[in-house]
């Protein structure tokens, strides 16, 4: 079974750790990576692409020095190599302009406000992973215990 990757990006170490901790539920089947900046994330994406690894989901903070989360996710959205990759923006201080950019340019799949409810994050990630796996045509059977059943049914029906 191939390990599918989830990348978390945040410049604050403790926030990053807390996201990782909340996602621990997935860690036996999925690979969870931590990045402290947008650049680190982009470098990691290059590496994964070279090894032909699946990147199912990027969870990014918005406000970061040098390159913001929306800028990062926009770049990923424009990149053909990561067409199916799901994007989740985790933010507390987004202006309306940021939100508009996030939807129009970064084509984010989900918005979650800081401080988040771990249960809600888990459910959201489950859903996004299910969508990624079905859309990519990866065999869902091996990941079934960590997937979101209703989403799985909806996507398999057609």
């Amino acid at each position: 079974m191939e390990k599918i990757n989830i990348i978390c990006v945040d410049d604050e170490r403790d926030v990053l750790e807390s996201v990782s901790r909340d996602l621990d539920y997935f860690s036996d089947i999925f690979n969870i990576e931590e990045c402290e900046s947008a650049f680190e994330c982009l470098a990691l994406l290059e590496e994964f692409d070279a090894q032909q690894k699946y990147v199912a989901l990027i969870i990014s903070d918005h406000i970061m020095p040098e390159k913001s989360g929306v800028e990062l996710l926009t770049e990923v959205a424009m990149d053909n190599r990561f067409l199916g990759t799901k994007k989740l923006l985790l933010t507390g201080l987004a202006t309306q302009a940021d939100t508009i950019d996030a939807i129009n340019n970064a084509k984010i799949d989900n918005f979650l406000e800081k401080v988040w409810d771990p249960k809600q994050l888990l459910q959201m990630v489950k859903k996004l992973l299910t969508e990624y796996i079905i859309e990519k045509g990866i065999g869902y059977e091996e990941y079934i215990e960590k997937l979101d059943a209703p989403t799985l049914y909806r996507l398999l029906k057609s």
């Binding site: 065999g139 059977e141 079934i144 059943a149 049914y153 909806r154 398999l156 029906k157 057609s158």
Partner: protein, 472 residues
């Protein structure tokens, strides 16, 4: 760690050993080189299908390619240039490749086109909505309705797609059940159980049936309508039993249940064409005797009509489950090799089956099939067992009073679909298990009981049909 490595090494090592052993070590007189290679391929197929180091459809493709390389008249140079009496009967390359497009594969392709069009034009969900209405709000009867509809749909659509559809209808309702209510379990189990059973009713209901059709030829050939006249009563009886079991084992405390399915029938010209073609195809399948077209020929009509009118477009073609077609092809190719090289007959001759009581044989083969189907794919089970069972059935004259080859093949085929006691047994089981409402032991409980009752019902029914001179 060792266990993980065995999965990869055994399917390579054991067949190699079989290939390299001297021909006289097999206890089969006059074993030819070709037959020995077929044994090696068979061993490899068994190990690959049981241990699953590669996807099950990939195993099928591997079988076909190995047959082309090792036992075809256009294979590898060293595989084709031994002395004829030592080498044995080579197969023609066209015969092996033709298994990808055998009439049975085309029958399934037709079925896929129907199912795809039905989903695309929402025929399935709209039919479910209309058909469920008469079952009211009493949980018991709603469940009966769900099971009937699931079974009917799985006769013409894949069991997996049917299960996914019915479970997605049920999901919002299951969320309303109290946490302790066993009724939730009953509902979540009712869908895969009905889907697994329902597939038995028609030749296109589930892939093991396709594999069986391959061996029901000449005087034993069975038409679409004949299959249904055996399959439908069986499915009706089994559904009723499964329903009783579910309401007894998992009683619900909920008084009323309301399935709210949204939607209206599409009324575009294309949608009407889909409804018409669907109806026409099924009618033609059922009236084979009147017009003389075989079910294989009829199956090509929806393929043509839906393609011409762009009802199934280029993108939809990609959604056809080609892996299922390949999986069945591999089984057909394996059977072809066992049969045409003479190996199956050779093996069957070597074992004194005629000393066994024929009933013991039918029961034994079916139980083995049921057991295997619980732990591995139903289709792979059918692929492995049916070629041997078919040869056995053809050679055993003591079987004739009990319906001969047909009864043996049908009971083994039905058994393959009755393997449903674990989440890994069938894709519908896996999906239902993913709903999170079911524990493995609850699934095992209902699955084992249905498996055993199912086999008994199948025997009883085939016995009656044989007595009535309906088959055999």
């Amino acid at each position: 760690m060792l266990k993980r490595n065995l999965k990869y090494t055994l399917p390579i090592l054991l067949p190699l050993i079989v290939l390299l052993l001297p021909a006289d070590s097999f206890a089969l007189d006059g074993l030819t080189l070709v037959e020995q290679r077929v044994i090696a391929i068979f061993v490899m197929a068994t190990l690959c299908w049981v241990l699953e180091p590669i996807p099950i459809y990939a195993t099928s493709v591997l079988i076909i390619v190995l047959e082309l390389l090792l036992i075809s008249d256009n294979g590898l140079w060293f595989a084709t240039n031994s002395a004829p009496e030592q080498q044995g009967q080579l197969l023609s390359q066209t015969a092996i490749m033709a298994t990808f497009a055998s009439p049975i594969i085309m029958l399934f392709l037709g079925g896929f086109f129907l199912a795809l069009a039905a989903t695309k034009y929402r025929l399935d969900i709209n039919l479910a909505r209309v058909l469920l209405r008469p079952f009211g709000y009493n949980p018991k009867y709603v469940m009966l309705g769900i099971m009937l509809i699931t079974a009917v749909f799985s006769m013409f659509m894949s069991n997996t797609a049917t299960t996914a559809m019915m479970l997605s209808i049920l999901t919002p309702v299951l969320a309303l059940f109290a946490a302790e209510d066993l009724g939730k379990v009953a509902f979540a189990l009712s869908v895969p159980v009905a889907a697994n059973i329902g597939g038995i009713a028609t030749p296109i209901g589930t892939p093991p049936n396709a594999v069986a059709l391959k061996y029901l030829v000449n005087e034993n050939s069975i038409s679409f309508a004949e299959w249904m006249s055996i399959g439908v009563p069986f499915v009706v009886v089994m559904l009723f039993i499964a329903w009783l079991l579910l309401i007894k084992l998992f009683p619900t405390s909920t008084q009323q249940i309301d399935l709210n399915i949204e939607g209206i029938f599409l009324k575009t010209p294309k949608a009407w064409l889909v409804y018409g073609t669907f109806l026409l195809t099924i009618l033609l399948w059922l009236m084979g005797n009147l017009h003389g077209m075989s079910s294989y020929v009829v199956a090509m009509l929806p393929v043509a009509i839906f393609s011409i009118f762009n009802i199934i477009n280029k993108e939809d073609l990609k959604n056809i489950p080609w892996d299922v077609l390949w999986l069945v092809s591999g089984g057909i190719a394996l059977g072809l090799a066992l049969d045409k090289t003479g190996l199956a007959a050779h093996v069957v001759d070597a074992i004194p089956f005629n000393n066994f009581h024929p009933l013991l044989l039918i029961v034994g083969a079916s139980m083995l099939c049921l057991l295997m189907a619980n732990f591995m794919s139903n289709t792979a089970t059918a692929n492995l067992l049916l070629p041997l069972v078919a040869t056995l059935g053809a050679s055993m004259h003591s079987l004739l009073p009990y319906g001969g080859q047909v009864v043996l093949i049908l009971s083994v085929t039905f058994s393959a679909s009755l393997g449903m006691s674990l989440p890994v047994s069938t894709p519908p089981n896996a999906l239902a298990y993913a709903s999170g409402h079911i524990e493995t032991k609850q699934m095992a409980k209902i699955g084992i009981i249905i498996g055993i009752i199912g086999i008994s019902v199948a025997f009883a029914m085939l016995f009656i049909m044989n007595k009535a001179h309906f088959i055999g």
